[in-house]
Amino acid sequence: MELHPFFTAQRVLIVAGKGGVGKSTVAASLAQLSARSGLPTLLITLDEPANGLAPDVHLEQITVSPGRALSDYLATKGLGLISRQLARSGIMELVATTAPGLDDLLVLGRIKAFENERPNGVIIVDGPAAGHALDLVRAPEQLKRAIGSGPISQQADEVLTMLSDPARCKVMLVTTAAITPVTETCEAADELTEKAHIALAPIIVNKCNPDVPRVDDAILLPAIREAYQYLSLRAAAQTEAIGVLTDSLKQPQLHLIQHHSDGTALINTIADDLEQAIRGLP
């Protein structure tokens, strides 16, 4: 598959995965690659800006902070003064507690606003870690149940329309090739598609170990037989985990090899690997 159809298959791509799988690096590399291919690209991170992005005329990044989403929202509704009063009196927290998921909804609302502003752009969201991704995308529905009407309810409707439209939004799950993260990824995939009605993009299998050729133990010098057995066992465990993933989820997989660099070098290397893997897709 060419890069452009891959990146424009949806307007918003939410990258999600549990801690330690390299989710943020993958999100940054995807944005870097998309921009490198000439598509105007926006990388949205939550809480903290991405590190190590190389400058590119087509690449912008912005940080949306869930903690500030409510005051930002009030400001856009012409309630900036009230918002400052709430913040000063310390009851912003009360308001957020009163309607759990409000922060999440408002974050999604910001993402939707960026999507409206950029009809021809690619938006990559470095989503929240672990199980929180599901809370994020389920927030609009839950809030709608709690709050019958008003601006928030309307916002929830608009966000739900975006989330459930596969041409506008997909979730890209990132995992590593071990059985525990793969199991959790399969569970997350089920919940995202069945409970939140969100379409899935191809699955990223990150930090793969290289394939190990089969050789007869006997031709190896004794000193390195143990190392070879370790390599073989590790490769077998990886094959088994990928097998479970293939059996459970029909989405295509993009396999990325483990690297030891970090920062800009790592993002660029993974962008290269991603390009190769995407071109290998049918």
């Binding site: 799988v21 009196s89 870690a129 809370d135 050729p213």
Partner: protein, 369 residues
Amino acid sequence: MSTQPVIDMCVSARVIVTCGTGGVGKTSVAAALGFEVAQQGKRAIVITIDPARRLADAIGLGEGTGNEIQRVPLDATGELWVTMLDVQETFDSLVRDTSPTPERAKEVMDNSFYRSLSRSLSGTRDYMAAERLYDLCEDERFDVIIVDTPPSRNALDFLESPERLARFLKHPIVKFLVAPSRGGFRLVNAAMQPVFKAISTVVGGDTLTGTAAFLRAFDGMEEEFSRRALVVAATLRSSASSFVIVTAPSPDALTEANHFVSELSRLGITLRLIVANRMPPHFGTLTATEEHSMAQSQSGDLARVHELIAGLHDDADRADSDIQAFIQRTSVAFPAVSIAFATELATDIHDMDSIGALAQQLAAPPSQQ
């Protein structure tokens, strides 16, 4: 420094808190420490706050067990128990315990705000973790309580959550909402009016009324809440508690480990142990002569195998130096910190035998690790 830091900790601590980012094997280490406590003849309980069922997976427990306490069958003189944190269940039993009458408890639990409060994950989960720890500390069935914090940057928030809740409940506007109703909010004073209007605009008037009703029903119960919270906070800051950072030798895991080191410093808590988990193993190497003769006569596959094995050596060396650098930095803030190492296994930890093997590695004297 002690020659058996992990065993010393397992027999002397009342509470052990493990923290670390995802993917470093934190839950397995928590279970392994519990295993070691049981080997030492004491009774351990491991509580995982992580909503994912990873501890359950690792030790072969089924799903959906909530707050239920389960014993892990072990061949040991002590005992190993495990449990998870069910936020709703913990909150309900806390309300029942602190409510002056059963009717009041029911009133609180039927309130729509209460139900959404206990479903929302953020602050409530942290607070309930502290509450559950209070319960377990009071429970005479256990000698050592091991708390496996969630794999997030904010894992230590639960240490401060009791104070946050107490502050919240004392807030003037909360006090105002709790005050006896005089015809709803119509008599809200002029200064409060725009604030209430703003809240109503955002979340709807019904929600606010529900919140006020909850806070009124809850009135008086917060004192017992606060008392328990302070007991937990004091225990965690006392010498009875030991904090453990679990890390792996990858750049992102070490960045997060550094973050936990500064969080602990900020909270005034002493770090007792670093667990350097998932260390790539060291294997035997070829002599220079062997290597030379191999290079002469290698088919493609064999050459590749040698290349991969050379890669393993590089991984192990790099991991050693990255971890040593982390330990040195950490020793500046915590000079008395101990270190335990465990090697990465070729396969995932998936049963009690592999937990036991991990415990054995952690408990081995430093010279043998």
